[in-house]
């Protein structure tokens, strides 16, 4: 990293106040202006929601959110207080973790196995099987609910007996096509010299997979984990179908949906609820972000 930074400095550096130096500086400034400008524009809808979540119900409906940013300030935490005080939010956050963690771990692991086979093993029908898997991305999930639920009931895989197992398995099935597609793409991009030199060293398939492929694919796996976790965490439909709306098993999304229905006209509470339910996914994203680094591959082929 530092060696690269030094190299870059040397390439870029031009004498101060020379035309080349000025144009480089201008390009830098332009870059920052564009980056910050785009990000700021992107934030506008979210800032609108955030501001509104601290406003009184009547104000939200009569004036624009930007008026709240000028005096007189009339902010309130009522919306948050109502959401937090209405019962079971703590327990449903726990339920959301109980659903989301296995529903992320299982498909990611299974997808890594399958993606490795699709990327680096030879077997008849490989490409067509892989394309069929991609095609399954297009199956509308709403169609699968009734047949899968019928099967679950007939084999007794219901929440009363098995807790969240049914919903983990369903999320695994639904998440796998994308997971395999993404990982296989990244595995395939690894240089083939890696595999050849490992084979010459007599490394077995398991060694190559666990010691070489997985460590080199950390950015791809981190992004997959983020997306799968997010999709499961924010899912309402699948949870309603396979878990149901009962209080002790409901995840956050179901609890919030019930909340806004039962309080009637409760949609303004959704402003606060939306921000509360965003916290966990954002923490996951920010904590996994350090795995998105350049240069994991650097040096792996040499020697």
């Amino acid at each position: 990293m530092t060696a690269q930074a030094v190299a870059r400095e040397e390439v870029v550096r031009a004498p101060a106040w020379s035309p080349a130096w000025i144009s480089q500086r201008l390009q830098k400034v332009l870059l920052h202006v564009v980056v910050i400008g785009l990000t700021a524009a992107w934030m506008v809808p979210a800032i609108a929601l955030f501001t509104s979540s601290f406003r009184h119900f009547e104000d939200i409906n009569s004036t624009g959110w930007w008026t709240a940013l000028a005096p007189p300030f009339k902010f309130t935490v009522d919306n948050y207080a109502k959401v937090l005080s209405s019962g079971n939010l703590g327990h449903s956050i726990f339920n959301s973790f109980m659903i989301s963690i296995p529903a992320t771990v299982i498909p990611t692991t299974i997808a890594a196995f399958a993606a490795y086979a699709f990327a680096w093993m030879k077997f008849p029908g490989r490409n067509y099987l892989f394309l069929a898997l991609v095609a399954l991305l297009a199956v509308p999930l709403q169609l699968t609910f009734v047949p899968v639920l019928k099967t679950y009931v007939s084999v007794g895989l219901v929440p009363q007996n098995w807790g969240f197992v049914g919903v983990w398995l369903a999320h695994t099935g639904y998440g796998l096509p994308f997971a395999v597609y993404l990982l296989a793409n990244f595995f395939r991009a690894l240089p083939s010299d890696l595999f050849e030199s490992a084979e010459i060293d007599g490394a077995g398939t398991l060694t190559v997979f666990f010691r070489i492929v997985l460590p080199l694919s950390v950015p791809a796996i981190a992004s997959l984990v983020i997306f799968q976790f997010l999709w499961v965490w924010n899912d309402l439909l699948v949870a309603l179908i396979y878990v149901g709306g009962t209080e002790n098993v409901a995840p956050v999304t179901v609890t919030l949906a019930n909340l806004s229905n039962s309080l009637g006209q409760g949609w303004h509470l959704l402003t606060a609820a939306a921000f509360l339910s965003m916290i966990i996914p954002l923490v996951v994203f920010i904590s996994l972000q350090r795995y998105f680094v350049r240069g994991i591959l650097a040096g792996s082929v040499k020697g």
Partner: protein, 329 residues
């Protein structure tokens, strides 16, 4: 709180046992494969590695999809009626049956896919060059962390409409009235703009997805390669066109394919913001309405099959892409 304590064993079980079982599976099957003679091993091994994935997608996606094919040829009571369901959906071109939904899906397909790819690529490349990359990335990513219901609330604030003489509460109409001095628009019910309004909300929601994956691919390009190009005096635009973009192409194809399929399956935003009214219907929403509101499983299945068939060209494109990558190895 008691409930939480009761659940702790389950949580431990989940976090420890699930990965353990999966690891035992792959190590155990490798042990079994080793028992085979040398020549047999490469032929048998792949099936153990893809096996679990195939079992899951067969149970949860393939079998229901096959059931859908059968249902699409049946009436409500399960009698075979040939292509009648398809004829009802595709009969009255250009405004009857599913045609409004198909037209809107074409809008989604083109605008959503291209804009998300464009923004995702631009943001990934630009952010790669600034030190505060992780902060700006988190901001762009934030909409991904929001559920579709919350997304509808947010864009409700953007698109809300008040009559011209009242103060505007929607951000967009405020700009339209006070900056451009035009009459406020009913963004969600005016058929000339509402599809684009919905697509814009969806683009905002998903761009973080494209940015993160493309950025992961960008990080996979060895730094030495870019340095070498810079030392040779290549401009930044040339480096992007000649070095970065070609190396990222397979990932652009993956993200593009996924986005095309997301566009075909577009449901959440339409369902929560307009429920498909005012000529904003899309295929997935139409299917949902036929299935759960009109109690017409045959029609819903026919719409789903139309949606599946629309993916075939994308698959052919992907097949070509694999072959090209394979040939370069």
């Amino acid at each position: 709180m008691d409930l939480l304590i009761q659940d702790v064993p389950t949580l431990v079980f989940v976090v420890v046992a699930v990965p353990a079982v999966l690891a035992i599976y792959i190590v155990g099957t490798e042990y079994l494969v080793r028992l085979l003679p040398d020549k047999q091993r490469p032929r048998v091994r792949p099936w153990f590695w893809v096996g679990p994935a195939l079992v899951f997608v067969t149970a949860f996606l393939v079998l229901p999809a096959l059931g859908t094919v059968v249902t699409s040829f049946q009436d409500h009571d399960g009698n075979f009626i040939g292509l009648l369901n398809y004829q009802r959906q595709l009969g009255d071109f250009p405004t009857g049956g599913a045609w409004i939904a198909i037209r809107n899906n074409v809008y989604w397909l083109i605008l959503y896919t291209l804009f998300v790819l464009f923004f995702g690529l631009i943001l990934a490349v630009l952010f790669d060059r600034v030190r505060y990359e992780s902060i700006v990335k988190s901001f762009i990513f934030m909409p991904m962390a929001i559920s579709s219901v919350a997304l509808a609330v947010i864009w409700g604030f953007m698109y809300s409409y008040q009559p011209a003489d009242a103060p505007q509460t929607g951000t967009l109409n405020f700009i339209v009235v006070n900056v451009f001095h035009q009459a406020p628009k009913t963004w969600l019910s005016d058929p000339t703009v509402n599809n684009f309004a919905l697509i814009a909300a969806a683009i905002w929601g998903i761009t973080g997805f494209a940015m993160v994956i493309l950025s992961a691919a960008l990080k996979g390009i060895p730094g030495e390669l870019l340095e070498a190009a810079r030392v040779d005096g290549a401009g930044e635009l040339t480096i992007f066109r000649r070095v970065i973009f070609p190396l990222m192409m397979p990932t652009v194809v993956v993200v593009g394919t996924t986005l095309v399929i997301f566009a075909l399956k577009a449901f959440d935003v339409v369902y929560v913001m307009t429920a498909g009214n005012f000529q904003t219907d899309v295929l997935a929403n139409r299917m949902y309405k036929l299935l759960y509101q009109s109690d017409n499983p045959g029609g819903a299945s026919a719409v789903a099959i139309i949606l599946l068939i629309a993916v075939v060209p994308v698959l052919i494109f992907n097949l070509r892409q694999f072959r090209a990558v394979e040939a370069r190895r």
